[in-house]
């Protein structure tokens, strides 16, 4: 069987990339073409219209696509989680200097951000923050970050969407004052000297359901070999002894095309947060493998709640049930003969 699988070049595409590059799919008798997509919208539409047989997808976008509130309504299933966490909120150095938080804990930093944001509103020049897609954990994590400081994101901040590969440059050029993005783009902004990581995603929304494997529903019954292959690859990605190899695999120009050192730091959860070299460690910075794999309908509830609070949907009972139903722990179990 030959499959076309889509991904957006980010560290958390690792299980899909490793599944193919390390031979896990071949071992299941699958020939896979990995297709790098330039935007989430393109990936979503190609999956919806059958140009892709599966995809690495933002968990909220998979749900929005299934509910028909982003692109064409798509009958898709989520038989496997790919990753938890991995995002961070980064602000420009001038904004960080203005925030000047007195301590390094999340609440202090969030309050310092809120204070500056309100000041800007009062002067008629609200801060602008970047996210990667309306239906993303990044959007919800920015909202949570604002709320921790007592700020109403809708009222006090301008939110814009910028694709991950452009977001660091948008910060450098002053087009935005901060952003929430996945690895490695926060580290790129820090390494190049114009960004300061203000908060880790894993502190804003612990064990946040970040990326999932989304498949067309009609392929669900024959998906066991693919689920097994990507599941094994996820475990392989989680094992620290494989991180060196994984980093060079991901850093390859054919995939992310960035410094493998930045990838390794993210995998290890030892992230440089300030251009002065300050490092912060987080054991659960980005999670693959055992902890991320099981598709949990509880994730659908959490995402739907975030969508509602962002004003993206007022879910009916039927929509809430539909959202839960796209998560398929039964397919996950069946792939392993349970």
């Amino acid at each position: 069987m030959r499959l076309a699988l889509g991904y957006v070049p980010l560290i958390d595409a690792a299980p899909l990339i490793a599944a193919v590059e390390c031979g896990f799919t071949a071992a299941e008798g699958l020939a896979v073409d990995l297709v790098s997509e330039p935007s989430w919208a393109t990936l979503r539409d190609k999956l919806a219209l059958g140009h892709l047989d599966g995809a690495h997808m933002l968990a909220p976008l998979a749900l929005a696509s299934a509910l028909g509130i982003s692109g064409p309504e798509t009958d898709l299933v989520v038989p496997l989680g790919l990753s938890l966490n991995g995002n961070a909120v980064t602000v420009s150095r001038p904004l960080w200097a203005e925030m000047a938080p007195e301590a390094d804990d999340l609440d202090t930093i969030a309050r310092a951000f809120a204070r500056v944001a309100r000041g800007r509103v009062a002067r008629g020049r609200p801060l602008t923050l970047g996210t990667v897609h309306p239906f993303s954990c990044h959007t919800y994590q920015l909202r949570i970050f604002a709320a921790r400081g007592g700020l109403d994101l809708d009222a006090d901040v301008r939110l814009v969407v910028i694709p991950p590969p452009w977001i660091a440059e948008a910060l450098r050029s002053g087009q935005i004052d901060g952003f929430c993005v996945g690895s490695p783009w926060n580290s790129v902004a820090v390494a190049e000297g114009y960004g300061r990581i203000a908060a880790f995603g894993c502190d804003l929304a612990p064990d946040c359901p970040e990326k999932v494997l989304a498949l067309p529903a009609f392929a669900a019954e024959t998906s066991a070999p693919l689920i097994r292959a990507v599941h094994r690859a996820g475990h392989w990605c989680a094992a620290p002894e494989n991180h060196r190899e994984l980093a060079s695999l991901l850093a390859h120009p054919g995939h992310l095309g960035i410094d493998p050192g930045l990838v390794r730091r993210a995998l290890a959860g030892a992230v440089v947060v300030d251009p002065d070299g300050t490092e912060r460690r987080a054991g659960r910075f980005v999670m693959f493998g055992a902890e991320a794999a099981a598709p949990s309908p509880g994730h659908a509830d959490w995402i739907l709640g975030q969508m509602e609070s962002a004003g993206q949907i007022t879910a009916t009972q039927a929509q809430a049930e539909r959202a839960r139903a796209i998560y398929r722990p039964d397919l996950y179990a069946a792939a392993f003969g349970n």
Binding site: S39, P72, T131, L159
Partner: protein, 195 residues
């Protein structure tokens, strides 16, 4: 049919393709067609232009930027929804095969958008065909040069006339069920190595 009142924005990473689409839409009677650059400041440009329809290449990273206008927050500058009537799957397939996506302001009549999409699909497919033909033509030209070189090598090495050299290669190609250009490539490679 003229559509004097519609403003159409065209966004495409390929300038040539954008120009071809612009020309096609203008020829079809759309008087206000504006090509916007494919950059991160798109929302401001779109807001300033205030188009009725945005036609954007399927593979443009800017699509995610445009989508914020339909659901990012309650503070949208302009409501934009992805076109293509969701029940019209053949149209969506045709648009995707051609590499097109389109966004429209809610409330615009579907048949008016359809005529824009029809033009866009025709133009994009024609562009793809031209590119294919161009790359085939380049390939043929390269093959012809290769065959000329191989002919020259055979003429010198074996004292053949031009006609005899060509026939020798053609016979070899037929016997081995290969293309004459492949035989020529082998001769040129061998001559490079041996000479």
């Amino acid at each position: 049919m003229t559509e004097p009142t519609l403003t159409v924005a065209v966004i495409d990473p390929s300038r040539a393709r954008a120009a071809i689409l612009e020309e096609g839409l203008t020829a079809a009677g759309f008087t206000r067609v504006v090509v916007l650059p494919d950059t991160a400041d798109l929302p401001a440009r779109v807001a300033a232009l205030n188009p009725d329809v945005v036609v954007i290449h399927l593979e443009s990273p800017s699509r995610d930027i445009l989508e914020q206008m339909s659901g990012l927050s309650r503070h949208v500058e302009r409501p934009v929804a992805m076109f293509v009537d969701r029940s019209d799957v053949p149209m969506m397939q045709a648009a995707m095969d051609a590499g097109i996506s389109a966004y429209v302001v809610d409330g615009l009549q579907p048949q008016r958008i359809r005529s824009i999409l029809d033009v866009a699909i025709l133009r994009f497919n024609a562009f793809a065909r031209l590119q294919r033909e161009l790359s085939e033509a380049r390939g043929e030209l390269a093959d012809r040069k290769l065959i000329e070189r191989a002919k020259g090598i055979l003429m010198t090495a074996k004292g053949l006339s031009e006609e005899e050299a060509y026939r020798t290669m053609r016979r070899k190609a037929m016997n081995e069920k290969r293309k004459i250009a492949d035989i020529a490539r082998a001769i040129v490679t061998a001559a490079d190595l041996l000479g």
